[in-house]
Each structure stands twice: as C-alpha cells, then as structure tokens.
Amino acid sequence: MANYYDIDDVLAEEEILPVVFQQAADCFGLLDSSDDTNEVEAGAKAELPFWLARDLHVRGVVAVDVPPYFRKVSRTRKEIEADAAHVDLRGRCQYFYELGLKIAPLVGDKTIGPFLLVAFQTRYKEVLVRAHTAASAVAPKHLTLLTNEEAKLYEAGQLSTAAFKKWRMGGPRLQRAPVLGRKRKPIE
C-alpha cells in the first residue's frame, strides 16, 4: 500500500492512466471532456490519476487500462529489449518503476514484473559506470533519460565520489561557519 510519508510514492500515484468506465456515473462530467452533460456513460474512456483509478477499479466502476509503455506489444518494450540503457524513460513516466509495481497487481499482468526487472538490470550498469567515473559536468545529457529512481541512484554515487575527491584534494580542514562573517548592520 501507499507509504503516506514518502513524497515520491505520493507523486507516483499522480500519474495519469487511461480507464474505461464500466458503469454510467453521475457527476463525473468533468473527467470526460467529450460532451457537456454531467454524466459519463458506460464504456466511455477517460484519463484518471492512479490513486483515483485504483479505488474506482476496486469498486468495479472503471476498468484500468495499462498506459502505452507497459503494454505487451509496444514500442517501449521493443526499445527496452534492444538497448535499455538509452531509452528515454523519464519522458514516458518519471515514476516508471514505482508505477509499474503498483499497476501490475491491479491489472493482473504478470509480464510487467519481469519487464521492469530486465529494464532496471540493464540500465543499472549504465548508471553504475557513470555515477562513479564521469565528472559531474559531463553527464547531464544522460541524466535526462533517467527515471526518478535511477536519477537518485546516480546522485547517490556521484555525491559520495565527489565528496571523497574533495577531501583528498585537501584545502582548509576547518571551515568557517557562514554565520560568523556577517556583521550586524547599524540601525539608522
């Protein structure tokens, strides 16, 4: 279930999913922009954020459809199979893995799990190499391809390597607290 205190978990549930209404529903007009009435007919398609779609799905009001990048036959899957490391997953869904983990049990698609794993396995190597070698200025192009999870991983590696390099270079061991230099302004 959702982790209440994890901001990424909350944001991941904001992702928009395509759904199909199974029942006619009143007062849902604003979700379906295709007509002016305040009703949604059965069979109408709409796009809802995950947190809403999940609850409605559990109650049988809507059927959740997987977003295009999780479909069994999709360009994303083919691209991942070909060369996962250079697929722009951030552009598709910033919370690719988190959302995938949440959707898979909902729609009962057992291929999503292995698919996510394979994608991460391949991309992990790329992140591993870059995080511990590249200077921070070189990599931004690669960074734009990473999902939230991967970017954090990259950052973790990068930060600790940079901190170590800084320590080895030396420099002043004792740092002046930024508060100290300030002088109080005379009140006029």
Binding site: Y97, T122, L128, H132, A156, L159, S160, A163, F164
Partner: protein
C-alpha cells in the same frame, strides 16, 4: 555530508572517517622527555628521547607539529610492501588485505609527516595506484548485483573509505532490486521455490568478487 542528506543517513563524511582513523596506533620516536599520558583510551608513554613508543595517530600528529617527535611510518607503507600489494591487487580477483583505514592514515602522514617517510613520492604514487585498482575492481564487482538475485554483499578486505564511498549507491541499488525482484512481481521463475520454507528463499550471499 552526514547531516545534509537524509537519504544517505548511514554515511560518514570523509572528514569523519579521518577522525575515526586517528584512533589507530602508530609508532613515534620522541625527542623530548615526558611522563606517561593517562587518557581514557589508554596509557601512552613514557616518552624518552630516541625510545620508540606507540601512540594514537592524533597524538602523533600533534606532537609532530610541535617538532617533538618523528613518526615511524607503518610497515605496510614501505615501497617493497606496497609494490607487492599493488602487483597482487592487479593479478588477483580478491582484494588484498590492507589496514582498514589505509586511505586516511596515508593522507594524514603525507600531510603532516612528509619528512619522515622515505621515498615519499614513490609511496604516494603507489598508494594512489593501489586505490585506483581497487576502485576499478569495486566498479566491475558491483555489476554482479544486476546479474543475479542479490540480497547482501560481502565486502571482504574493503577499507573504510572504499566501503563508505559506495555505501549510498549500493544500498539504494539493492533496495530497488529487492522491490523489483519481490516474489509478488516475479512469479513464474520460482513458483516452485515459493513452496519451500522461507529461509531457503533468501538466495545466496554474494561476494563482491567471487569468481
């Protein structure tokens, strides 16, 4: 660093590790006469001119700064020893045993006691080389996490600094793999092993280098 990052809560900063390393013992040759020091961490001294004695690194550095002693570099910091280690490190897959704080101690001695180390340029570049070789090994070794199901890594002979640098990265990667690898998500591959008792399901522990 340690206070700045919540995600890397368990990480030390390099300066903190250096602080910890200063508790290691090292041999000095004092040139002054002083009674033994009775400290909480132990008794050191007595200090007599030309009689070697063991003290913590922080004390050695403090005395050295005041010109009260010369520091004897530890055995492993000699050119022969380091050359051996470097060669072994290049040839073998496993990490060579080195002092847990070798990165920090060598840096402290290079900074404060450069006149006490014979062949300092050689020693310094050897240590740099050893460090680079080991880091490269760590990098290639970490690829193993992605190849097989991994729950824990055994870091034998890894030094404090090396472990500390990879810690945030490795813990995060292991976490993510654990989430993606959970039996709920990956069913078909181990529908058999699911019926086995829980302990059998935890998978083998990986060595960072186990080929």
């Amino acid at each position: 660093m340690a206070s700045q990052a919540d995600a890397h809560a368990a990480t030390f900063s390099a300066a903190e590790l250096e602080f910890l390393a200063e508790d290691e013992l090292i041999e000095i040759v004092p040139n002054m006469r002083m009674d033994p020091l009775n400290l909480i961490c132990g008794d050191f001294g007595p200090f007599r001119p030309q009689i070697a004695t063991q003290v913590p690194v922080w004390l050695a550095v403090a005395l050295k700064r005041r010109g009260k002693c010369t520091i004897r570099p530890p055995d492993w910091m000699s050119v022969e020893k380091l050359t051996q280690v470097l060669e072994a490190e290049r040839d073998a897959e496993k990490f060579q045993p080195l002092p847990f704080h070798y990165v920090e101690i060598s840096r402290l001695l290079f900074d404060h006691a450069r006149d006490d180390i014979p062949d300092i340029y050689m020693v310094r570049s050897l240590i740099e080389d050893i460090k680079d070789v080991r880091f490269h090994k760590i990098g290639t070794g970490l690829e193993i996490i992605s190849r097989e199901r991994t729950y824990a890594l055994r870091l034998k002979n890894l030094s404090a600094m090396e472990a500390n640098i990879v810690r945030p990265f490795v813990t995060r990667a292991l976490q993510t793999f654990y989430k993606l690898n959970s039996p709920d998500m990956i069913q078909e591959s181990d529908s058999v092993s699911n019926r086995q008792p829980q302990t059998a399901n935890r998978g083998p522990r990986r060595q960072l280098k186990d080929r």
